[in-house]
Subunit: 262 residues, 3 copies
Amino acid sequence: MSIVSLTTDFGTRDGNVGVMKGVIWGIDPTIQIADISHEINPQDVYAASLVLDRQVWYFPPGTVHVVVVDPGVGTARRPIAAKLGVHYFVAPDNGVLSSLYERAEKNVWEIKTVHTDNPKYWLPEISNVFHGRDIFSPVGAYLAAGVPLEELGSVITDPMRFTIPQPQRTEEKVVGEVINIDNFGNVATNIRVEHIAGMGDVKVTIAGRTIEGLVKAFGEGELGEMVALFDSFGYLSVAVVNGSASSGLHSKVGDPVEVVSL
Amino acid sequence: MSIVSLTTDFGTRDGNVGVMKGVIWGIDPTIQIADISHEINPQDVYAASLVLDRQVWYFPPGTVHVVVVDPGVGTARRPIAAKLGVHYFVAPDNGVLSSLYERAEKNVWEIKTVHTDNPKYWLPEISNVFHGRDIFSPVGAYLAAGVPLEELGSVITDPMRFTIPQPQRTEEKVVGEVINIDNFGNVATNIRVEHIAGMGDVKVTIAGRTIEGLVKAFGEGELGEMVALFDSFGYLSVAVVNGSASSGLHSKVGDPVEVVSL
Amino acid sequence: MSIVSLTTDFGTRDGNVGVMKGVIWGIDPTIQIADISHEINPQDVYAASLVLDRQVWYFPPGTVHVVVVDPGVGTARRPIAAKLGVHYFVAPDNGVLSSLYERAEKNVWEIKTVHTDNPKYWLPEISNVFHGRDIFSPVGAYLAAGVPLEELGSVITDPMRFTIPQPQRTEEKVVGEVINIDNFGNVATNIRVEHIAGMGDVKVTIAGRTIEGLVKAFGEGELGEMVALFDSFGYLSVAVVNGSASSGLHSKVGDPVEVVSL
């Protein structure tokens, strides 16, 4: 049984996610479909890229990840499909897969990208405003059903990429930024364990607050205490034990975060 | 593998959608289930009808669409099941399928409706307040599992219908109304391409704002520009490129929209 | 085909539910997965327990219910799996299964609990902050795929339990409390039909409002009328016909409710 994941900025109220499943099951009704998120901020390709990089690698080899965050729908931006290691992706060519290409390169995985311009694998009628239904869903379904990547279109080597901001390390400190605030109000930064290697015990400063030392798990802090720790995806995060760090800090994506040795 | 879609006004917090899937899989665990929407405004059968008509026809032939927007639950309103062309529907008899009957008639599809009064295909115990779980889910599951429509109850020919408001065309203009505001803030009207046939280039007036000319895709406008276009379901819509038209216009469902020739 | 249900406080924005499905399908891609709720209030094990008790018993025998409301993640609290009658549960040992144990005892069902300490059935790498992905999902998947409960770890007899508050009955009245407010604004209490047995016709007082008599279905009241009735799970509830009782009453979970004979 093949697996498809869906990530969009559609929300779940209008039925635009449901119709994608209808299209996919019209091509292969045995496909298993998992929703990753449909609450990406509208047109926020950067946020989508980070959510994907946190989640997709836990799916089984061969999974097809269909991503529709598509501000340029109906313009000349290409629809693409990519094989990155053992995972497949179907998306608009607007940089939304940037973190995934980056990880594939870092891990020296096989990378192959095609412009999915073969209309044989689209719906018969293509609207100008909903390629999620008309192009990305059927292409993803055919790929999951076993159609080879090269069948879907012409190989390209220049998918659009944007640069994921990296923390800056100087002699005294590491300066990173907030990249996500989750459902619990945990504030994740782009600082990973390798960025603070050799610094010993550290303190973390964010929004005027300083947290001394890192904990290993939420439960190590007192109820209501603000703690810093590496989250389950390896990002340095600030959390309040059984509470919300973001509501106390008023943090937002892009805010600076500093780490210095204690 | 059979396919069932679910559309309700239950929200997803209370588990009332999850339990419907449990009931369905108790009857046939191989059924694939797609959520269309569970965020229909409570008891808004008109909104549900329009969402359904936008989405269901993209599902494969034989799909069973279970709809539970049911202000009259526990009263004498009938539970019904209908075959409209190659699609099946299970719903309370309260007009929620009106747009679907209308489309089936327009397309001269086969129409057959039954009052699903055969308790053999219900749960053994029926509550007065949750027929979605006790009647509509099991009936939908049995239908998807191959039980013939006529087995589910007595054929009827008078399902409740309400009239979908149609745009009015006079010599100078077409007057329609807002029928949906989606997750992106795009404002959809009930005006379709056939309603403005022969008018040449047009301007659209909504909430005191006038937009001259139509675009084919969001991306044809400038960032932040308000544009008018036919959406992916063929409805005239007003959108802001990578922004929200509804927050600028303060539009709501039912607001008038005018189209005149340029 | 095996069935797994998921109940968490993760929300659906961050992809943490999606990744659990990826992990489950990596172990057995034929498993059917139903979301019960991902909108449990953060860390509210009591609310989760009540939602589960309303929904899980409608799932087919053998279903594995994975529950991740886990304020103690990364601390010494045990991960457990339980067989309660014909249903299986996988959860942190923090009382979140309390109502389910209670019902199993009341119905004299078989009860068996294990501490799922066999790392063979976990992901290879375990984070300190996301056992939903690293422990509960794989354990649930292996259980659904046929691994015997006893294989997953050591049998225990002391799972954590908290007491579900019971209504108090005196000679004049029954005093209960609000336990849930649903998507429609219906206010459910912990008073069940057995608690008011023999009281004849009753009146219900909540938040200073008194409702005389019970109806059997929403539709028996006038539009906008406040009515009291037993909901589809057998709990005494207060509702406004086609409206929201909670917005008029400003009720919240824990508020007292009184029932006296008329």
